[in-house]
Subunit: 152 residues, 2 copies
DNA sequence: GTTTCTGCAAAGGTTTTGCAACAAA
DNA sequence: TTTGTTGCAAAACCTTTGCAGAAAC
């Protein structure tokens, strides 16, 4: 596991008076050992490949902790289950483009969007903070052929 | 019910070989009788105030039909349940700003964002279509006082 | 008349939780 | 030793579905 991440987790746990356990370490290792988005169940599979004894209850509890700490973020990919994004530690300002047809997700950053988003936010009387912009679109293949080979 | 909406629903039902029933009308009336976003359960309450006999099963089935027809849109407000937005019939291009603290939602439109969003979409190899941009922020009260009176 | 729709109750799937044993600090 | 954690099984929750009777076309 990356050293910076490790420290952040220690800091969060200590601040909250929580404990570092072997089970949590396994789940954290699984969650941040990938750059892919995942569901709770997908994470469970990944964690079990590290420690087959990983329990669902602990996984859900740890997942909520990681979200609360800000290290992991829930994102809406239009799937039935909640998805989690482990990439905000390395890229705190990234956004998502989602193909409404095949559900493919592309992460991107754009300075103009950053500025414009802040403008709009202020205009509406809010103060910009964590800003997660999501764009929905159709992929080229879908528009051209009417379907998409990546479709689920 | 608005005449234009009525026609759109008729057209959709006819196209699909589906039937117009009293139960569906009640649910449609409830859904488009408000400009607020709602969950399935909130819609159930609204529908029951028109017809107390409204059943959950029919409500869920009709809800899925309305989403399929494009008249109603699922939106992610960061709540536990799926929320639905009845305002896309009147404002097909609106976006949402969501306060991460109190979950307040503001709808807005912005021509610059429209253009920039299309640009980004094309740059990433996609073709712009239904574009729903979502911005997350903190409301002023939260930033200033550390909490927010609207918080759930 | 034929086909779709409704409503009930049951099932399905995900996430949370009470509790007793266990482990970290 | 104190307090937090785990894992099981059960519960809670939202949503979907099979089926028989009812309604639309």
């Amino acid at each position: 596991m990356e050293a910076a991440l490790n420290e952040k987790i220690d800091a969060f746990l200590h601040l909250k008076g929580l404990r570092r356990t072997a089970q949590r370490d396994v789940i954290i290792e699984a969650a941040f050992g990938t750059k892919e988005h995942f569901t709770a169940d997908e994470l469970w599979e990944m964690a079990k490949s590290i420690d087959p004894a990983t329990s669902r209850a602990t996984l859900y509890r740890t997942l909520n902790l990681l979200v609360e700490s800000g290290l992991l973020r829930e994102i809406d990919l239009g799937r039935d289950q909640t998805c989690y994004d482990p990439n905000f530690v390395e890229h705190p300002h990234h956004n998502h483009l989602i193909c409404l047809n095949c559900r493919r997700v592309v992460e991107f950053e754009d300075p103009h969007l950053e500025v414009l988003g802040d403008c709009i936010t202020r205009r509406l009387g809010f103060i910009p903070s964590t800003k997660g912009v999501r764009i929905e679109a159709d992929c080229e293949e879908f528009r051209t052929t009417g379907t998409c080979s990546r479709r689920e």
